[in-house]
């Protein structure tokens, strides 16, 4: 066997369990939250949240753009998270929602009165846990949506890394299995069963 094949096999094997060990907790989080998302009936009061309302005076928000003014208001109100603006702003207002897994806030700012009306929500632990699965700050079917909180971008990077890691592990495992002569036949049958089952859905047959 050529030495580069030996080197590849050595590292492919190591990568398989090193990646698995590194991503273990991420994998468990996305597995368990995936199960939660598909079985909402298992939970009662999942979406119950604690609500706090307050209406502080604020300083005129600094900045020229909607984003910079919103960020300044958030700084003053000590709010953090992904920002979501309504399609249209009332005149003399900055209205926005800000959210992260453990909570959210609806903020209405009267710029002339320099006054903010804030409705803040704190999510329960299980609800917060579930939101981690979908917390990407972007929706593919809403082209205008984009991430504006650096922490979300880092979380998305972790999601991407897990996805890439899983793909590498799966492809690497195909090679390791193929080298096991005694397990080739049954492996082909099992893999074909998986591919066929998956294809039935992807092709829209079911």
């Amino acid at each position: 066997m050529p030495s580069f094949v030996k080197t590849f096999e050595f590292w492919n094997r190591k990568f398989h369990y090193y990646l698995g060990l590194y991503f273990l907790f991420f994998l468990w989080l996305f597995s368990l939250t995936g199960l939660m998302l598909n079985h909402q009936s298992w939970f009662t009061d999942l979406y119950e949240r604690h609500e706090t309302i307050y209406d502080p005076d604020i300083e005129a928000p600094a900045g020229e753009t909607q984003l910079s003014q919103t960020l300044d208001v958030m700084r003053q109100l000590k709010l953090k998270g992904e920002i979501d603006w309504p399609a249209a702003q009332p005149v003399g207002h900055i209205d926005f929602n800000v959210s992260r897994p453990n909570g959210a806030a609806q903020v209405r700012v009267d710029l002339n009165a320099r006054h903010a009306y804030v409705k803040e929500f704190t999510n329960g632990t299980l609800h917060a846990f579930q939101i981690f699965h979908t917390f990407s700050g972007s929706r593919f079917n809403q082209p205008a949506s984009r991430r504006d909180w650096a922490v979300t971008s880092v979380w998305v990077l972790a999601m991407d890394a897990l996805a890439a890691g899983l793909i590498v592990m799966v492809v690497g495992s195909y090679y390791m299995w193929w080298r096991l002569k005694k397990r080739k036949t049954l492996g082909v049958v099992v893999l074909a069963g998986g591919v066929l089952s998956c294809w039935v859905f992807v092709a829209g047959v079911l």
Binding site: G20, L24, F26, S31, F140, V170, G194, F201
Partner: protein
């Protein structure tokens, strides 16, 4: 003996669910970074003389959805009904129908017994993302109203349970290789540190 059994189960269960893992993993990139570019919809089609069930003015939930599903074969559709919207003013019933590959909006005039159907096809990435998100948390009371969604739910659940099984057996198989324990511990600890650090950064 236990080692051999677990190694074989790890291998064969892994092979079976590997296409599903690839589907879930690949669709993550589209869900996180993709943007839907609205394509050209096919022209709306009208179907007449439909056999339309009654009761949409008073029925809700799964019962209403089951009745709406009876209209689907008549307009040459099959798939999951997303929700129902009954417009009392002109007695119209409007609902989306979808499965991997396409989605459609059905607008039924209950009195005229006609239906207008607008179809839109999905590209492969959209189809993978659609499956990734199904059945999902929305409208849980009526979700799974099409047999395909019900079966997909079973496969999605099986994938999760088997991923958990494979990760646990993977831990056991790694632990059995004594020479890899130290490096494995370092990576496990690094992963745990990254995980806790990120979760803390998001919620603090």
């Amino acid at each position: 003996m236990l080692y051999r059994w677990l190694r074989d189960l790890h291998l064969y269960f892994g092979l079976f669910i590997s296409p599903f893992i690839l589907l879930f993993a690949a669709s993550v990139f589209y869900l996180n970074h993709g943007k839907l570019i609205a394509g050209t919809d096919a022209p709306a089609e009208t179907y007449r003389d439909l056999d339309v069930p009654d009761g949409f003015d008073r029925l809700k939930g799964r019962e209403a959805v089951d009745r709406a599903a009876a209209i689907l074969p008549q307009v040459r559709l099959s798939g999951e009904i997303g929700y129902l919207r009954y417009v009392a003013k002109d007695r119209h019933l409007i609902f989306p129908v979808s499965k991997a590959g396409f989605e459609a909006t059905v607008d039924v005039d209950l009195d005229a017994r006609t239906a207008t159907v607008k179809r839109r096809s999905m590209n492969l990435w959209e189809s993978l993302s659609y499956l990734h998100k199904m059945p999902g948390p929305h409208n849980a009371a009526i979700r799974g109203n099409w047999v395909g969604t019900g079966i997909w739910r079973l496969f999605a659940d099986a994938t999760i349970y088997l991923v958990l099984f494979i990760s646990l057996t993977g831990l056991y198989l790694w632990w059995a290789i004594k020479s890899e324990r130290r490096a494995g511990f370092v990576l496990l600890a690094a992963g745990a540190f990254t995980f806790v650090g990120l979760v803390y950064a998001v919620i603090r």
